[in-house]
C-alpha cells in the first residue's frame, strides 16, 4: 500500500508539473498535424496515402513526446538535486524508475492517438487491426521512454539531454521504416535498422493499419518487449553505478 501511494504520487506529480502543461499539450497536437500536413502535401494529396502515412506519424508522435521529455525532466531534477529526494525515499529503485517513466509513457500513448483521431475524420479506419495496433503503441511508448531514461543517465546537463535525444531520434525517423520501408534502405544501413526498437514497432503499425508488414506481429512485439526490458535493466544498472556514487 505504502509503495503504491509513493508510486502514484510520483506519477501524478510528473503528469501535473511536466506533461499536462499547456505548452506540452499543444506540442502534442501541433506536431502530428505538421507531419501529416507535410507528407500530405509532398505525396500530392490522395486520401489513400493517409493510410500509409498514419503509422509513421503515430510512431513519430510517440518518439517526440517521450524520449526527450523524460531525458530533460530527469536531468533537470538531477541538476537541481530534487532527484535526491526520490533516491532517499524508501522505495525499490525499480518501482521508483517505473513511476518516474510512467508519466512519459502515458503521455506518449496519448500523443499517439492525436493523429489517429485526426485520421478518423479523413479516412475509414474500420479495417485497422486494433488488437495489434494498441499493444504496439504502448510498447513503442515504453521503449522510447526507456531510451530517454538511458540518455538521462548518460548525461549531466539539460542541454546535453536534448542534444543526445536528437542524436537518437532523427536517424530513427529514417532508419526505422516509418515512411520508407526498411527493405529499400541501402544494405549497409539495414543492420542499424534492425538494431533499433522502433523498426519493430513501426512494422506492427504498418501491418495493423494497411496490412504491409515484414515480420509476424508476435515476433515484432516480442522483440520490442525485449528491447524495453533490456533498456530498463541497463538504465537501472547505470543508475546504481553512476547516481549512487
Amino acid at each position: 500500500m505504502k509503495l503504491w501511494i509513493a508510486f502514484w504520487n510520483i506519477l501524478h506529480k510528473d503528469m501535473r508539473t511536466y506533461y499536462l502543461k499547456p505548452p506540452n499539450i499543444s506540442w502534442g497536437l501541433i506536431f502530428p498535424l505538421a507531419w501529416t500536413g507535410m507528407f500530405f502535401i509532398k505525396s500530392g494529396s490522395a486520401l489513400g496515402s493517409i493510410q500509409t502515412l498514419l503509422p509513421g506519424v503515430v510512431a513519430i508522435s510517440i518518439l517526440f513526446g517521450t524520449t526527450s521529455m523524460l531525458a530533460v525532466t530527469v536531468t533537470f531534477e538531477k541538476k537541481n538535486r530534487s532527484f535526491e529526494r526520490l533516491l532517499l525515499a524508501p522505495i525499490p529503485l525499480e518501482v521508483l524508475m517505473l513511476a518516474k517513466t510512467g508519466g512519459a509513457i502515458l503521455f506518449g500513448v496519448a500523443n499517439a492517438f492525436v493523429p489517429v483521431v485526426m485520421a478518423v475524420f479523413l479516412i475509414d479506419l474500420s479495417q485497422v487491426a486494433w488488437g495489434a495496433f494498441i499493444p504496439a503503441v504502448f510498447l513503442i511508448a515504453v521503449a522510447s521512454t526507456f531510451l530517454g531514461l538511458f540518455i538521462a543517465v548518460a548525461v549531466s546537463e539539460v542541454f546535453e539531454a536534448q542534444t543526445f535525444s536528437n542524436f537518437f531520434r532523427f536517424p530513427m525517423i529514417f532508419l526505422c521504416g516509418l515512411f520508407f520501408p526498411v527493405e529499400k534502405l541501402p544494405v549497409f544501413l539495414k543492420p542499424i535498422s534492425y538494431a533499433l526498437p522502433l523498426t519493430y514497432g513501426a512494422d506492427v503499425l504498418h501491418g495493423a493499419v494497411h496490412g504491409g508488414h515484414a515480420m509476424p506481429f508476435s515476433l515484432d512485439l516480442a522483440l520490442l518487449s525485449a528491447f524495453c526490458v533490456g533498456l530498463f535493466v541497463v538504465s537501472l544498472h547505470n543508475i546504481r553505478r553512476r547516481w549512487i556514487v
Binding site: 500500500m1 505504502k2 509503495l3 501511494i5 509513493a6 502514484w8 504520487n9 510520483i10 506529480k13 508539473t17 537541481n80 538535486r81 530534487s82 535526491e84 529526494r85 526520490l86 533516491l87 532517499l88 525515499a89 524508501p90 522505495i91 529503485l93 549512487i244 556514487v245
Partner: protein, 324 residues
Amino acid sequence: MIDTIAVAGLRKCFAEVEAVSEISFSVRQGELFGFLGPNGAGKTTTINMLTGLARPDSGTICIGGIDCTGKPRAAQYLVGVVPDESNLYPELTGFDNLCFCAALHGLRKAERQARARELIDIFDLTKAAHRKFGGYSRGMKRRLTIAAGIIHKPEILFLDEPTTGIDVASARQLRHLIADLHRAGTTIFLTTHYIEEAERLCDRIAFIVSGRIVRIDTVDNLVQPMQVKNVVQLTCENALTDIEARLSESFPDLKFNDIGKGLIRVEGDAPIRVGPLVRFLEDQGGEVSEARRMRPSLEDVFVRITGIEADAMRKEKEKAGGGQ
C-alpha cells in the same frame, strides 16, 4: 544503550581526493551527535554514505540494526534527511512539496495534509504555503526543506548544516525544534560549522578534519582538559590607567590582561579568589560591576585540537554562501 548508527573503517575517495578516510564511530539511540569540521572535511560525504546516496569504498555501516554494507538504501525507511542545500521542487507550492515528500514515505492523503499543515504552522510559513517553492527566500527554502525532512517522523534524522543561511531568529527557533525532536527520542546526526551550536545542542561531538576524525567525546569531556587554567574576567565601569602593572605587582601569582573597555582577564594556576581582587580595584578607584569565572569554550578546544581558527572557518563558510 543501543547503537543506532555504527560505522567502522568507512572510506571514500573521489579520483585523487580522499574525502573520508577510515572513520569509525557510533551514535547511540536517542543521541544528538554533532559532526564538526571545516569546509571539505568530509561531513556531507559521510552523510551521503550513511543515507544511501553514496557508496563507500570500504568499511561497514549499520543503521537501526540493519547492515547497510553493500545495500546502501536498506535502512532508508528509518531515516529523514535534511541536505545541505534546499532541494525541493521549485514548481510546486510549499504545501504540495510537503505532501509529496510525505507521500514518498507512504503517508495517506488525510494524514499527509494534516502533517503538512502542522509543519507549515510550526515553521511559520502559513502565508507562503500556497506559493511556489521557487519563489521562496533562502531562509524560507531552508525551513521548508527541514520540514520536509521530518514530515514522516523519522527515527533517525540527518541534518546537514541546518542553520546555515538563515536569520538569527529562525536559527534560534530551529535549535529549539531540534532540541524538541531530541527530547522526543529522535536520534539526530547533525553537521555544523557553528561551534556554539554544537556546544549548546549536542550530547557528543566528533571533530573531523581532512576526512579523519580527530576526537569524539562529550562536550564536558572535551572542555575539561582545558580547564586546568583558572580564568576570571572582571568588568570595571571606569577605565583605570596602567592597572595591569599595578595588579601584577600586588598579586604576583596571577597573570593579568587588560583587554580594554574595562575588561580585565585574570589567569591563575590555583582557583582564584575574587574578593581581594575586587577590593584592590575599588581601592584604586575602580567601580567593579561584574566578576565572572570563565569556562573554556568548545571553540577553544576545537582550535587547540585541530589548529584551525574557528573564526576563519566560519568566515570561509559565509563567503561561500552556505546552504540556500
